[in-house]
């Protein structure tokens, strides 16, 4: 590689967005990451592969997200080595990603936190389940050891441990608060409880079936993940997605965004003491998923996308019903927004709670919805548009308050913009097929799918194996970037505000844990 790590030996990567791959050695791995960071890149994700059966080495990959493209650094660990240079000093998100990579594959970054992250004692310390020598259905007895939380000491400091089973119907995670009185001095998260061995499950699965598993990485983002998977496979196989199928997928994606935002706005109102908000927004959400049922045959669109298109086309009657629904929602959400905005009690709870300043957000690489509430104007649908967003640009939503109130405003703005997009999509639905066949994929190819889901950009990195099977599939949820930020946003807040603040981020557990 010459001094510019991006040229000239970079390779095109099949993807729904502009993506390049650069093969690097250990020094270039670091220098390349540094150079890309200077150009405005954030680290999206890290993963590793066990290629010892192919060419005797392990590989690590880093996907970096620039304002207009994705760059994948690929580094083969020389001579059977299992160590690679850490990136945590450049990108804070790398720290947990590196811990996860060690737990699963036994590749160790040369610096940073060494505590286990996904391994809670469910498999032995010296077993690395993503290695090829571990059987697909192998399981182990549990030998849990206490997790070394960072202790906080001082006069009157005590700890509150919450989870993994919570008081409400939410996903499993553990939160350790160090508090004085009610005030939080420090919050430390422990995640991984919903780890289901996704990557192992993907291993050698028929490529034509992987979208069903991808759709279940994170149930509230099922359209985003299944689209990302399909996009990666369609790019590898050079399948041209019909514009009608792309439009229907975008319709599904925007409806997923609207449904989640409606649900969150209701819960946030409720957490701030306005049960009226929950009743109203949960009713609107129910109406929306019922129309999904009528139009797509399912409420949550788990199996609506498949490689080559979508399962069900949309008829004239359903288009009409959806247009009516868009108008109803615009009206209802606007009037509820006015009520939230004018409600002194709600605003008192929303304002200044869980503050994530733009400086902190930038320094820690906040992305997606959380980033857009803290002044980070990134949205993959706008910055790296793929069909149909290339001809139908979303409006840019941006707030800089960084508190619960700002995250609420982003949700309101995004609902209105998604409704606008839905209307355009429905009115201009291209003619043509909604599903085309996908040819057999060449083996040994890496493809990417990057989709801006409602939380932020989700990524699927898919490598093909012979016989039209998955060689490796790495899924990334934007919650990896944003989880550590709740630890900062909680400092100085009171413990009883945690549910409200946590909800305002509403990050994925299953999506993160994998």
């Amino acid at each position: 590689m010459t001094d510019d790590p991006l040229k000239p030996e970079d390779l095109h990567v099949p993807a729904n967005v502009t993506a390049r791959r650069v093969v690097v050695d250990a020094a270039q791995w670091l220098a390349g990451a540094q150079r890309l960071r200077d150009q405005g890149a954030g680290l999206l994700t890290l993963w590793g592969t066990d290629d010892r059966d192919r060419d005797g080495v392990f590989r690590v990959f880093a996907a970096l997200l620039l304002p207009d493209r994705v760059v994948v650094l690929e580094h083969a660990l020389a001579g059977g080595s299992t160590a690679y240079p850490a990136l945590g000093h450049l990108f804070p998100v790398a720290d947990r990603l590196q811990r996860a990579m060690y737990d699963l594959l036994g590749l160790r970054a040369d610096a940073g936190d060494c505590r286990p992250w996904l391994r809670h004692g469910g498999w032995p310390e010296n077993i690395f389940p993503l290695r090829r020598d571990v059987g697909a259905t192998q399981s182990y007895a549990i030998h849990a050891k206490p997790y070394p939380f960072v202790p906080v000491s001082g006069d009157g400091v005590h700890e509150i441990a919450v989870g993994p089973v919570h008081a409400g119907t939410i996903e499993p995670g553990h939160f350790r608060f160090s508090v004085v009185g009610e005030k939080v001095l420090r919050l430390e998260e422990r995640l991984g409880y919903a780890h289901k061995g996704m990557a192992k499950r993907f291993d050698r699965m028929p490529l034509q079936e992987g979208h069903r598993l991808a759709a279940r990485i994170c149930g509230d983002s099922t359209v985003a993940f299944s689209w990302a998977y399909c996009a990666a496979l369609e790019s590898i196989t050079e399948t041209e997605l019909p514009r009608r199928a792309a439009a229907l997928r975008a319709l599904a994606l925007e409806r997923e965004r609207i449904a989640n935002h409606l649900g969150d706005l209701g819960s946030l109102g409720n957490d701030a003491g306005l049960a009226f908000g929950l009743v109203q927004f949960s009713s609107l959400k129910e109406q929306l998923v019922r129309l999904n049922q009528d139009a797509f045959g399912q409420r949550y669109l788990f199996d609506y996308l498949l490689p080559g298109g979508v399962v069900i086309d949309l008829g004239a009657r359903m288009i009409h019903s959806m247009l009516d629904e868009v108008a109803m929602l615009e009206q209802a959400v606007s009037s509820l927004r006015a009520i939230y905005d004018d409600h002194a009690g709600v605003q008192d709870r929303f304002r200044d709670a869980g503050l994530l300043s733009p400086e902190l957000a930038r320094a820690h690489g906040a992305i997606g919805l959380v980033g857009r509430a803290s002044g980070i104007a990134r949205d993959a649908r706008i910055d790296l548009p793929w069909p149909p967003y290339d001809v139908l640009p979303p409006g840019r939503v941006l707030h800089s308050g960084g508190d619960v109130a700002a995250r609420v405003q982003v949700r309101f703005d995004e609902i209105m913009d998604s409704l606008r997009l839905c209307r355009s999509l429905l009115q201009t639905l291209p003619e043509g097929p909604s599903l085309v066949p996908v040819p057999v994929a060449p083996s040994g190819r890496l493809g990417l799918g990057l989709i801006e889901g409602w939380r932020g950009p989700v990524l699927i990195a898919l490598e093909t194996a012979p016989d039209n099977r998955v060689g490796h599939c790495h899924a990334h949820d934007p919650s990896w970037q944003n989880w550590p930020l709740i630890e900062y946003a909680m400092i100085g807040n009171i413990v009883p505000d945690f549910p409200l603040i946590n909800k305002s981020f509403n990050l994925a557990y299953s999506g993160h844990d994998g």
């Binding site: 259905t137 409420r299 006015a338």
Partner: protein, 181 residues
């Protein structure tokens, strides 16, 4: 305040009647009678996500919206297993949640019922069994009834909840894995 009241008035009452009987269900009225004879309209549920994808949780949440109005039928979710009659479990049991699930089950007072919700918890779903998942809930704690679906619809959940109380009274502190119908 006026706008809130106006909106409430315009929204009206959305709650729908409880699901009517289907092929699989015994007549609903009987289930409701059973429910009342055991609990007197006070069924309390504790939910544990034992590694789900969060899809099942979306539908469990939906039970509380005005259309299904779960609380209106005398059923409520509680924050502690010690207050619960029914343990509602989602997900293929992840090894990282196995102990928490067992402990939650043990913390519940007898008599207690377990309802496994979603294909993952009933038959491992798309996830199967591997180093990270144990699979079916019934392989970890005794299960009294199941609700299929990925995710199950709120109506299916409601039927499952009403159905569970129509079962024979569970064996107290049974350790054997019961049929998952």
């Amino acid at each position: 305040m006026f706008t809130i009241l106006a909106r409430i008035r315009r929204t009206g009452i959305l709650s729908e009647p409880l699901p009517t009987s289907t092929v699989r269900d015994a007549p609903l009225e009987k289930l409701q009678r059973d429910l009342q004879s055991v609990f007197g309209r006070a069924l309390r549920i504790r939910h544990v996500d034992a590694g789900s994808c969060n899809g099942c949780e979306l539908e469990i949440h939906a039970l509380s919206n005005p259309y299904y109005n779960l609380e209106g039928s005398g059923i409520a979710f509680v924050a502690s297993p010690r207050h619960a009659d029914v343990l509602l479990v989602t997900g293929p049991v992840s090894v990282n949640m196995e102990e928490a699930l067992r402990r939650t089950y043990e913390a519940m007072p007898d008599p207690k019922w377990v309802l496994a919700v979603g294909d993952c918890s009933v038959c491992t779903g798309v996830f199967g069994v591997n180093y990270a998942t144990r699979g079916r809930v019934a392989d970890v704690i005794p299960v009294d009834a199941v609700v299929n679906g990925c995710p199950p619809t709120p109506l299916a959940l409601l039927r499952g909840l009403l159905q569970i109380t129509g079962h024979a009274r569970p064996k107290v502190s049974s350790s054997a894995v019961q049929s998952d119908s």
